[in-house]
Symmetry: C2
Subunit: 285 residues, 2 copies
């Protein structure tokens, strides 16, 4: 069996499950979480992929977002991967920093030593994990993607680069212009090398300016977010959307910070946004 079920817990009449599997892409054992809504006992359901931020595993969003309540109502599965490869032999930042290595894969395919053997999170999220889930879980082929902070960056980059994979994209407080901020510069230098030409394909603002997109796109940002001015740069994304004619729905929420309390407050809006495309627009295979 490709998937080993580690836990199954009843939640809003559906099931919160945790799985382990051997990842060929990442060359390590990986764990991820899934919420299957009650409807999945009777028919296949579409899936929202959620990419978490720095320091997270698959468990933070599962425990703190409250997303499963709405997913249960709407009949949408949630697929929640880890944020980096893990386990013995997987390199970490030499100084144990939170923003490089374990918990900080940045959803790129690393090209530099010592990272390139395991840190292939872009391919894991776009290829291996969806194939694995669709082969082993009661899912339709319809998918959308969302994420928070580093995961918001991942969701936007993936959706901009591969618009055929997901029918909608959203993000909470994404790192919207990573080539310009310290988090992005540090991670991209390590994973992709010093030549900044290789960074641009992982920068949502640069990709959007160049490619544009007609994908439904919702971004929420807390105005009291302690990282907004130094790491996130939502204004760059807004300008990229204007320049490229991308229909970005960018909402700034006064008083909200960078935490899961911000996500919890607006996840219902995001799930209903995704449901409009996941449920009304079935992909015929």
């Amino acid at each position: 069996m490709a998937l080993q079920q580690l836990t199954a817990q009843r939640l809003f009449e559906g099931w919160q499950k945790r799985f382990s599997h051997r990842s060929k892409t990442l060359q390590c054992d990986m764990q991820f979480s899934v919420y299957l809504p009650p409807q999945a006992e009777f028919h296949q359901v579409p899936a929202l992929y959620w990419l978490s931020g720095l320091t997270c595993t698959d468990e933070n969003f599962s425990a703190k977002s409250g997303a499963q309540r709405i997913a249960a109502e709407l009949g949408i599965a949630l697929i929640i991967p880890d944020t980096s490869p893990r386990g013995e032999g997987v390199p970490d930042a030499a100084d144990g920093a939170y923003d490089l290595g374990l918990g900080a894969g940045f959803y790129v395919n690393a090209t530099q030593a010592p990272w390139q053997q395991h840190y292939q999170m872009y391919d894991y999220i776009t290829q291996e994990l969806p194939k694995l889930c669709q082969a082993n879980l009661p899912l339709t082929a319809q998918k959308s993607i969302s994420g928070h902070s580093m995961g918001g960056h991942g969701a936007l980059v993936i959706a901009l680069r591969e618009p055929e994979l997901f029918c909608a994209v959203s993000a909470f407080a994404p790192i919207a212009n990573p080539v310009q901020c310290d988090w992005g510069k540090k991670a991209f230098s390590a994973y992709l090398g010093e030549d900044q030409c290789n960074w641009d394909v992982y920068d949502a603002s640069l990709l959007m300016t160049k490619l544009g997109s007609q994908l439904p796109m919702l971004v929420s940002q807390g105005e009291a977010d302690q990282f907004m001015a130094t790491q996130l740069f939502p204004e760059q994304l807004r300008q990229a959307a204007e320049a490229s004619g991308t229909p970005l729905q960018l909402e700034i929420h006064p008083g909200y910070d960078h935490s899961y309390y911000f996500i919890a407050s607006f996840i219902e809006q995001h799930l209903r946004f995704h449901a409009g495309y996941l449920l009304n627009n079935p992909l015929v295979e």
Copy 2:
């Protein structure tokens, strides 16, 4: 100022706050969490006190229950205390066990050394904390109480012993007959001594059999709860309610376990239950 505000985070248009204060009852510095719904900016609101279970602090319920969404809609504050005294000089279990000492105050007034100086959680919850909150936060005098596991035990015991303090009580998977289970026997022996006559005033099933109650009372229990048969004994509570004519609403939910996923699934029902008494039955002072 009696209360020092540690953090304030926007959540569902209200505020999640954390406070520190010197507790005279517990003779140590204590922290607790509060959710103030948006209505509290305009007028005083009633409060639900939430007592957490073994190993928890005030942060578990705050982060995982999703209760604030419904509290924001209904206009109810949430007061979330810690589960034991804390800090330097406060004794812990000699072997660091999770079910005695720090994180395991069991909401009793300890009479035995070395516990009796600090472990006065019953008085802290019923007297010092409500006075402190009502003097410093925008609260009406209307209060109700709920809790989980050890905290469900605490909520039921307090409501049965002091029915004038709270207008309704509910519990998730409470330790319903602690004098009969290992968790209760261990804690009560340590805190109250070997004479079991001193234990009965902290046992919800025994109190209910003896005193009965006309307080609105809702108890939810997961049928797949790994502790139901060995530690919780909901059947004893049901029998006590029958014997005493107490209108207990006891609901058994197939498939649900002892975790916060169970609480998250049914907290909305509990909050609407409390709201029926907190909001329609104003206490005139």
